[in-house]
Symmetry: C2
């Protein structure tokens, strides 16, 4: 007879998603999440650094995907092209989980605290992209700017993708946004 059921971390993450969805982030206590997962509050904080982090479980995987794609891009690819490849890889990943993304985003949109956490994760992605570009020999200032721009495109496109009534292709939305960026910044 086992002392604990396995997969405690996953159970906590699922319980949190459910409760945040049912009553909202603010109206959910960590004790309630732990109870639904059959664990204690203390154990929740062993798996997640705080009450918000449980919703940003997959952020590291996304960052790894982006960074690896940039690093593995052909040496001939310009910074903006390397980053575009990374965005496309991420787009394909999200396209397969739209229902989950929509539900999760609805929760985040209902809480300023969660929006703050989302923004710092995005900022961290921008920094990681910049770092990956630098490893390709891209100049410091170009790398930083390209990373920020890539994340701006991702952010805008993801927002449209999630809020769109009929499902669209996130990768295509990001391509459109980049094209639109070129138009916006074009000198007359």
């Amino acid at each position: 007879m086992v002392r604990w059921e396995p997969g405690g971390q996953g159970r906590l993450a699922q319980a949190a998603m459910e409760l945040y969805g049912e009553r909202g982030f603010d109206q959910t206590t960590v004790a309630e999440i732990a109870e639904r997962a059959g664990l204690t509050e203390r154990t929740f904080f062993r798996h997640f650094s705080d009450k918000r982090e449980v919703l940003f479980f997959g952020a590291q995987a996304l960052q790894d995907l982006l960074v690896n794609t940039v690093v593995d891009a052909p040496a001939s690819a310009a910074p903006i092209d390397a980053v575009t490849l990374a965005l496309e890889a991420a787009g394909n990943l999200f396209n397969e989980r739209r229902a989950f993304s929509v539900q999760r985003q609805h929760i985040i949109d209902g809480s300023a605290e969660l929006q703050e956490r989302e923004l710092i994760k995005l900022s961290s992605l921008a920094a990681a992209l910049a770092s990956a570009l630098r490893r390709r020999g891209v100049a410091e200032s170009t790398a930083g700017l390209t990373g920020e721009v890539a994340i701006a495109i991702f952010k805008i496109s993801f927002e449209r993708w999630v809020s769109s009534a009929e499902p669209r292709d996130l990768t295509q939305l990001m391509r459109d946004s980049l094209e639109q960026l070129r138009v916006v910044t074009a000198t007359q």
Copy 2:
């Protein structure tokens, strides 16, 4: 004889800056801030919604400046030009307070919580810029993208401006960043 000294809010803000600078954000309690300001913890929370907000006192003024500049820009100005005018106005404002900005940024850089709050303020600025552009008749999608890009340029340039050894002109840095953005996104 007055019951309280006037300027309680200002005293709290100054005490907070001092203490965050002396021992760091995490090692400072709200009770300590209130004590240095000659007030109580309860009064602190009447003036500032939370422990972080005290450092983001001037954010509304910055937003107003940006929005007003965009709204007042000549009707002939393209979205990117209207936004550039706003960034220049903000740049001039900051140029006069570099010492303060450097000190404040040093505090923020030492705390993840403060960075989160800074990011959501920047995101709010992007949204406000987009809204101001829409009032000028700019299409929804263009407005959103232009707002994000403007803030990306501001963020990158501000970072360089603050961390630079010798004082530079923030407005010039932002102009340079926009030009660099054009180069980065240019199709070959």
